[in-house]
Amino acid sequence: MLNVKTERTINFSDEQEQLLEIATNFCREKSEIAQVRSLLNDEKGFAPQIWLEMAELGWMGVAIPEEFGGSGLGLGEVVALVEPMGRALFTSPFITTTLAAQALLAGGTQSQQARWLPRICKGAVLSLALSELHGDWDLSNLTATALEKNGQLELSGTKTFVSYAPDAQALIVSVSLNGAPALVLVDAEALPEGALVRETNVDETQRTYRVVLDGLRVPSDALLNSGDIVPVLNQIHLAANLLSAAELSGGIGGVLEYTLDYLRTRKQFDRLIGSYQSLKHTMTDILLGYEATRSHLYYAAGCFGADAEGEIALRMAKAQASETLAYAADRAIQFHGGFGFTYDCDAQLYRRRAIWGASFHGDAPFHRQKLGDLLL
């Protein structure tokens, strides 16, 4: 309701404030646009030495309990790291590794946690293999299977959009086991030759792979906790959308500033084009979408995990971020005129990011539909 303080407010911690500032400076320095563009054609798609610097800063452990070498904070703090990354188009296996850590915390066995979480804090890359070719955002819709045989699991099927798979020391793979969803922790060394197929992702800053599971065998103890795994999948789904919203929110900030720079300096018909009302008002709409995104985002960051309210908040954040970035980058291309149509104009980088972000665990119409179920 307008002008009324909601009972719940935005909880923005000192840690978030510090991380936001540190990450902003870090990304500004380490991810200048020349660096971003040089990575587009790089096979890895990220800079390993910078990844190690991040590990040294403790970023991969932010949301990992202290007993495993982390800082014991939450995903709300991770949001403050990811937003600046999105703004600078800085890419690394940070999101997928963070989500893999969350999956282990939510559903891993004690020995899995003890084995992998400390390594993650120190810089090990892990990745999630949850999507399939049918493209359903419901992570419980699984056609990949595991069969138990002689104390081993035999996997088959194909997973899609597995980020940075060749750099991952392990993958967390969802499969159907005895008709129910299950998660399996697959050591990278167990993958057969040719299991990883690089995908052509519209977002060239990303590295994603299809993983062909056929012929893959892992020991039975590679299973995550054998209880009902659906809540774990749901939690990954929500966490993935929170971090995705943060990354997209940053992207809006980036493309907004990039476009404003042009509109403030480019002349046509002897006028600065930013003085034209049709451009000025559109940029204002984009600003308002950006502000709305950030409000949703940091509210969601502060109440992540708080049942329905937390879920509502992050779905709003993702829906708003996703649609706003798509619009902002679409207009950025248009408003850059002929230059906007070139590969050299950064507008396309953000537009491609918007598509990737929308595809990643649900786009705006998907989340609005879910919100309808929660709110109406």
Partner: protein, 401 residues
């Protein structure tokens, strides 16, 4: 006086109880949703009495100085009262131009005599105030105001016309922007600002019928009307400065308002509730998937607006463009009200054509009326188009045309 959380909670409980016990029942006639919609004497008397009652209970002007009739208490208490009024769905507090625009101005810039003369009666609703800024030919362009004020001895002689005067026919005073020097260096320097009496020969108010079919505004005509020279605020030529300061109070960009709810905003939840009751195509409107998508968009926008109010105060999340949230609140709030009323009308399906007064109109035709009334806020106080210019230029640094 530092208040503890406990103090605030105790006070909130007290206030909540008071409004529970004192909020008037449905008077049997339609009440205005905003202070600009007071269109009948019946509505006016009812709301004036309600304001006096709230004031006498100590819940209005709580942070204004005691010597002029205020409560001398911390602002936070008044804010709690406002929140509780909204929660209790009380009628609105009507003398808004006095309480929230003219009052703070007088307290900030007025002489001791002016404070003594005006402040208390604003609080009690004894004196109703109105505003004379817009003119028929200068709706958006205030700086171009042409109403003439010519000094003649101890008086100014007023000639011209003001329009969109809320409470014009009830008002005892008007905050008036007038041109004292047509030969000034520029249009702004020729303006002066008056606390003009309204019951003066030569001042006439004519009601304006609104697009809803109701009344609420007047046009005010000045025909050789003479007002005392000492009712000027500041000195000659300072009118634009005073007007701009008034607008910062009006827009809530500066504090100092007496409090009270001036506008009963509709919430999206109310639309959702109706969508569950109203049929569309033979089933509850809320089951329509396309409409659900629209409702969720509205809920998201409303939530963002509410969260924006919180975030605006949080430096680390607000440092990049600190003016973005304050300068966009009016634009977004007013446009949201228009859009949600529009959706609320549409979802009524075949029965959307029923208007206020029809026994079969959903919720007494409230939403049709709200939709039309919503334009007062998307037009008044600077149109939405002008708001976007302001944001584009002042927040985004885009060049002027």
């Amino acid at each position: 006086m530092e208040l503890t959380e406990q103090d605030r909670n105790d006070f909130r409980a007290e206030v909540r109880l008071w409004f529970k016990e004192n909020t008037p029942e449905d008077p049997g006639f339609v009440l205005p949703q905003t202070f600009m919609e007071v269109g009948t004497d019946q509505q006016f008397e009812f709301l004036r009495n309600w304001q006096r009652k709230v004031y006498e209970a100590g819940y209005l002007g709580m942070a204004w100085p005691v010597e002029y009739g205020g409560g001398g208490k911390p602002q936070v208490l008044q804010d709690i009262v406002t929140e509780e009024m909204i929660r209790a769905k009380t009628p609105l507090i009507m003398n808004t131009i006095g309480l929230n625009w003219a009052g703070p101005l007088i307290l900030a810039k007025g002489s001791e005599a002016q404070k003594k003369a005006y402040i208390k009666n604003i609080l009690t609703a004894e004196d109703i105030w109105c505003q004379g800024f817009s003119e028929p030919d200068n709706g958006s362009d205030l700086g171009n105001a042409q109403l003439k004020a010519e000094r003649d001895g101890d008086e100014y002689v007023l000639n011209g016309s003001k329009i969109w005067t809320t409470h014009g026919s009830y008002a005892k005073y008007m905050i008036l922007l007038a041109r004292t020097n047509p030969q000034a260096n520029n249009k702004y320097e020729g303006l002066s600002f008056f606390l003009s009496p309204m019951q003066v020969e030569g001042i006439k108010t004519v009601p304006i019928k609104k697009l809803t079919g109701e009344y609420g505004f007047t046009q005010t005509f000045f025909d050789d009307a003479r007002i005392p020279a000492d009712c000027i605020m500041g000195s000659e030529g300072e009118g634009w400065k005073m007007a701009m300061l008034t607008l910062t109070f009006e827009r809530g960009a500066a504090g100092g308002q007496a409090g009270g709810v001036a506008i009963l905003y509709a919430s999206v939840q109310e639309v959702v509730d109706m969508a569950k009751k109203v049929q569309r195509n033979g089933r509850p409107a809320v089951e329509d998937p396309v409409l659900r998508d629209q409702l969720v968009r509205l809920l998201m926008d409303e939530k963002a607006l509410s969260l924006g109010g919180i975030r605006a105060g949080m430096a680390p999340l607000d440092s990049e463009r600190p003016l973005a949230l304050p300068l966009s609140e009016k634009l977004q709030g007013s446009e949201l009200q228009r859009r949600l009323a529009d959706v609320a009308v549409q979802l009524q399906g075949a029965n959307m054509a029923y208007y206020m007064g029809d026994s079969e109109a959903a919720e007494n035709g409230r939403w049709q009326r709200s939709y039309f009334n919503a334009f007062s806020a998307t037009i008044g106080g600077g149109t939405s188009q002008i708001q976007k210019n302001i944001i584009g230029e002042r927040v985004l640094g885009l060049p002027k045309a």
